[in-house]
Symmetry: C2
């Protein structure tokens, strides 16, 4: 069966109508469109063909049609291809209120990402999800030991990509301030610039040798460093706009709402599932669309997810995902994400200067 131009028009018309209403769309509705002034009977014939091709289905015998995953896929691929062709269409989307983010001093990247998730959620009416910055090859930038109270020190660990973690260490022994300074110096000299793999036994042995009596401190600091690295490995995830799923009845029927909200709350599973999605094609914009069953999270098989990868330079990167019903407005979501990514690039480039 051939998918000629008219069939494609009808398919798109069905998809777009269904996006707006959420109701199965019938032949009469389509035949009223400017573009497709045929009688309902003609449309019906075409629809029967589209159904045979697996692009649309009827929920029950006497209902209108709704798109299948395959139908959406066709639609999305076409749209992405067209967007790639006309690179800057300068569509008049309502500008995202990103100025706030830009003007504010960004002291912590993660805070900004959370804020961004909120803005995206409010703007799209879908749920958003951001994985924290992450790098398989992140390196230790430096660390800083400071005395706190008797027997307690603060160890600040800074990884490449401005990932900063605090650790309060309880020591059994006490340590002089000057000794701590020296330890600080030694540790930085030995460890700065190394990745987790590079901090091996020989480095550690050297360190303990040099540290002399304060081996306990060294090993606790090393533990803290290791934990910081490994925490980096388990993608932290922020979500926003979870309640937006209630806008879409097809996502909230039965226990679905509960399951979805649970998944969003158990961010860990979510993070590793989404985080592990590799961008298959090395497109520069790096936007991926997962429709229905393509989503690698069970409770989201009725959803679509659009992801984009942001990069902080130095190999540190993370993902932004937008989760909505399969009938989400892919066009708007993809464009909003693209805009967001260029904003982000602007911010990070500015920071990098």
């Amino acid at each position: 069966m051939e998918l000629d131009e008219r069939k494609r028009e009808i398919l798109y018309a069905i998809i777009e109508n269904y996006q707006e209403t959420g109701e199965p769309v019938g032949s009469r509705t389509i035949s009223k469109l400017e573009k497709l002034k045929f009688s309902p009977a003609t449309i019906r014939n075409e629809m029967a063909d589209l159904e045979e091709m697996g692009l649309i289905v009827q929920p029950h015998t006497s209902a209108g049609r709704i798109p299948t995953d395959k139908g959406y896929r066709l639609y999305v691929d076409k749209m992405l291809a067209e967007q790639a062709k006309e690179p800057e269409k300068a569509r008049d989307l309502p500008a995202l209120p990103m100025q706030d983010l830009l003007s504010r001093r960004i002291d912590r990247v993660e805070e900004m990402l959370m804020k961004m998730a909120q803005i995206l959620a409010a703007n799209t009416n879908y749920t958003t999800m951001v994985t924290g910055p992450h790098s398989r090859k992140s390196k230790l930038k430096f660390l800083q030991l400071s005395p706190m109270d008797k027997g307690r020190i603060l160890a600040v660990v800074v990884l490449s990509g401005d990932i900063v973690k605090n650790n309060i260490l309880n020591l059994d022994e006490e340590i002089e301030n000057s000794e701590l300074m020296e330890l600080n110096f030694i540790l930085n000299k030995r460890l700065t610039g190394l990745s987790l793999e590079e901090i091996n036994l020989s480095v550690i042995a050297d360190l303990k040798n040099e540290a002399g009596t304060h081996m306990e401190v060294v090993s606790k600091v090393l533990d803290a460093v290791a934990e910081t690295f490994s925490k980096e490995d388990s993608y932290p995830v922020y979500t926003s706009g979870a309640p937006n799923i209630f806008r879409y009845p097809e996502l909230t029927g039965g226990d679905r709402a509960s399951e979805l909200i649970s998944t969003l709350e158990e961010k860990k599973e979510l993070g590793s599932a989404i985080g592990s999605l590799t961008s298959e094609n090395g497109s520069k914009q790096d936007i991926q669309v997962y429709i229905g069953d393509e989503v690698p999270v069970d409770s989201m098989k009725d959803c679509s997810v659009v992801t984009a990868t942001y990069s902080l330079g130095d190999g540190v990167q993370g993902k932004i995902g937008i989760i909505g019903p399969k009938r989400m407005n892919y066009q708007k979501v993809v464009e909003t994400l693209k805009e967001t990514m260029s904003h982000l690039d602007g911010i990070f480039l500015k920071t990098e200067e």
Copy 2:
């Protein structure tokens, strides 16, 4: 109308039955109880009285009765009073899996609080909520400036109660390492031990005087300190177990679920509402129960909230709240919270040593 012993027994029986089933309870059900072996007719007479007293209502004419807020209030007050009398009843609650928390090195208080919220939620099947540690009179413990890259420094601000915040500062000028160290020293000398109010213009003037050329750095650091203090003022809030509300149909009918989830996601409002709840009576355990309309959050008027205050010493404290339907198991919740608080005290005392 007098509330005699038998009426009270019946009220409690209604409450406890309704807790289990969530269905209005009728006279037959009550009359089958060991304790209340009267005919349904007798029970009905008593129920009519209880209804007249405003302690129970029927949802519709031919239905059983459910407790009113006033009824719950009576029940809860009695229970709390009895618990106060017999201080350590050593009820055989399934021990909370707090050992994990105890044995793990706690490097960040907030992480532990989040974990605790999760455990509580899983254990009670209600939603939990924790406000981060907070103090109106917290003081600057110390701060630590470290060089990062050209023109960027890391300022770690530590407040009393081990509240640690990182700030990455972008400088217009560059600064030598040794100069930074000196600034670090000066800032600490002048600021350590001061509260937000105590860092006034005269202190700042002195500082800028002493700092000489590096006024920009000083003022940016001061900004960071101010922000850390003020962030402290806007209670951070963690929630867990939000999906548990789906277990209780009376909370999920209509748009209620959506509203509740939204409230939980917008943690700020929640935080200030809950955080501002003062403990009216200075009871040592400091457990408060808010029933229905007593809850100061609009979307939670169908819920009850039980809160407890934890304290990290030094005036730093926060609140733990358990949110559930009005028919929640107050007994279990209060006991679980008490147990949790004593665990917490154990942990913090240990840390304080």
